[in-house]
């Protein structure tokens, strides 16, 4: 009896069972899906690069990147203003949203009662569901006047863009960071508290470092969204294509410029917008790469 029950499975596994064929089919379907999406990505890239190519060749990529004057009417396409504008707005948004978002995540995961957390969480999801044009609107009617009366100037500024973006990227930072914190084993908390550390020391020295990979991922996603965001940013930054380091100055972003000028651009101007899009692509890829590196290093050190 015992012998039989041992032998049955082994004779069974050397024959192909019907499940194996089904698995193969699934495998092929998934492979196909992956190929199609890769192909789509390739086509989009090829199209954007192709359309931008004439301007790239005519002016040279380095001149485009380092050029400080963007005047389409004179066929002058220096993209440094948009490049720095994008980086500043994104950096500003992250500086505001990361501490706030991670703080919220800590509160929800570690400090608040389940009741309060369950009340707050849907509100945060709602924040993510608001269309970006609405954020732009709120920026124009509330934030821009506030900045104007506080700091002077027009109020349309890179800072306004940063603040609006910060609010927009907050939900994803909060959600992913909270999930990461909640997924940490209770053992870490118990071990730390049992050594006589305070709750805050436990959060700061044990839980946050352990959750770092997840938090970095949330920041990557937020950054991707911030760099590519068009409508809300376009509505509040003032879209002045001039290189500036001051957050209170008006400025332009890459995505904002494309969104704004696309409807009337023709010929070389339109090609220049595609070239701008190509650089936007590259910037996002580079930042993603850096972030990937950070996460993989984080994982190794654990």
């Amino acid at each position: 009896m015992k012998k039989n029950s041992v032998e049955t499975p082994s004779t069974h596994t050397i024959h192909k069972d019907p499940g194996a064929r089904k698995e193969k089919t699934i495998h092929i379907v998934l492979l196909l899906a992956a190929t199609v999406s890769l192909l789509a990505l390739f086509l989009i890239t090829a199209f954007v690069v192709g359309e931008g190519w004439p301007v790239m060749v005519k002016h040279g990529p380095l001149n485009l990147i380092l050029g400080t004057d963007w005047t389409p009417s004179r066929l002058s396409f220096g993209m440094l203003p948009q490049l720095t504008g994008t980086l500043l707005v994104t950096l500003g948004a992250l500086l505001i949203a990361v501490p706030l978002g991670v703080g919220c995540a800590i509160f929800l995961a570690e400090l608040s009662s389940e009741k309060v957390a369950n009340l707050l969480r849907p509100c945060i999801s709602l924040l993510a569901a608001v269309p970006s044009v609405v954020y732009g609107f709120l920026g124009v009617i509330a934030l821009v006047p506030l900045l104007r009366s506080t700091f002077g100037g027009s109020g349309y500024s890179l800072l306004a863009g940063s603040i609006v973006l910060a609010i927009m990227i907050l939900p994803s930072i909060i959600n992913i960071s909270e999930d990461t914190l909640r997924a940490l084993p209770i053992d870490y908390r118990e071990a730390s508290l049992a050594l006589g550390s305070t709750r805050w020391q436990t959060i700061w020295r044990v839980l946050l470092p352990a959750a770092r990979p997840g938090i970095v991922v949330s920041i990557i996603l937020a950054m991707g969204r911030a760099i590519g965001e068009t409508m809300a940013v376009m509505m509040v930054t003032g879209n002045r294509a001039k290189v500036t380091g001051a957050l209170l100055d008006p400025g332009a972003t890459m995505a904002g410029t494309i969104g704004l000028e696309w409807s009337y651009a023709a010929d070389e101007h339109s090609s220049a917008l595609f070239a701008l899009g190509t650089f936007l692509f590259i910037v996002i890829m580079l930042l993603n790469g850096v972030a990937q590196l950070v996460t993989s290093r984080g994982r190794v050190s654990q």
Binding site: P185, D187, Y188, R189, E190, A191, S192, L193, A194, L195, G196, S197, T198, Q201, R205, V206, P209, A210, S301, Q302
Partner: protein
């Protein structure tokens, strides 16, 4: 036994919501000796152990009655701060739970949160603690490698070292060997035998043979009650209560 106890519980009851998990327990733990808590699974051993450094405070709906005295003062008094209490009364858990950091950082963690900043002093503490936990020779060349890469038995000894680094007075251990293989178990047992010369140790175990090997005193629990306690050898050879005898002869648990 009650008088000279380092830590003792008196008429101590604990409720998880409506569930009465510990019923009027009175028991003392003498200094520089090892007391084992034994009994069938679910009888409240872990609950009692976690009551001794108020780890049960973390569980919602827990209510206690009675006293737990550490050197005469009740740790459940309203003005007691659990942070210094837990520094004095430390705990090793059933599952080894090192932090996801290097070996060095794991051990330096406790001294750091208690204010030690000097690198050289931390290095001394780490070395001393690892030596006391009989782990130094195995890890001295890779203090910077992740603690989670150690074997289960090494991880548990690391957790003991991490605990020793904060200089506790009482060590609580909840089935510290249940996740370990026999060789690792033997190492931890040897270590505990050595540590009890210095510390007051309370060990939960469901392994009677282990309790016989390592403990000086024994307390037997059943369904939330302490049935009897005493010197290990006497209690094992001469139990006075029939539940104890049934348990020891393997009729349940």
């Amino acid at each position: 036994m009650m008088q000279s106890a380092k830590i003792s519980v008196q008429d101590f009851s604990l409720y998880y919501g409506a569930f009465h998990a510990l019923k009027k327990i009175s028991l003392g733990f003498p200094p520089r000796s090892l007391t084992a808590l034994v009994g069938p699974s679910g009888c409240g051993k872990s609950t009692l152990l976690r009551s001794l450094n108020r780890m049960n405070d973390l569980i919602a709906g827990v209510r206690v009655e009675g006293r737990v005295s550490l050197e005469g003062s009740n740790i459940y008094d309203p003005d007691v701060d659990v942070v210094p209490l837990r520094k004095k009364v430390g705990m090793v858990f059933q599952r080894p739970n090192p932090f996801p950091m290097s070996i060095f950082e794991n051990i330096a963690y406790g001294p750091r949160v208690h204010g030690e900043k000097k690198r050289s002093r931390l290095q001394d503490i780490v070395e001393q603690s690892l030596k006391s936990a009989a782990l130094w020779d195995e890890v001295k060349d890779r203090l910077d490698s992740p603690a989670l890469k150690l074997s289960g038995g090494q991880q548990q000894r690391l957790c003991i070292a991490r605990l020793l680094a904060v200089e506790p007075e009482v060590l609580l251990m909840d089935e510290p060997c249940s996740a370990l293989d026999p060789i690792a178990t033997e190492k931890v047992e040897e270590l505990v035998m050595d540590l009890k010369k210095k510390y007051t140790i309370v060990v939960v175990t469901h392994n009677i043979a282990q309790a016989a090997r390592i403990s000086d005193y024994l307390a037997f629990f059943y369904l939330g009650e302490m049935i009897e306690s005493g010197v290990t050898r006497q209690l094992l050879t001469n139990p006075t209560k029939h539940q104890t005898e049934d348990y020891l002869t393997g009729r349940f648990g």
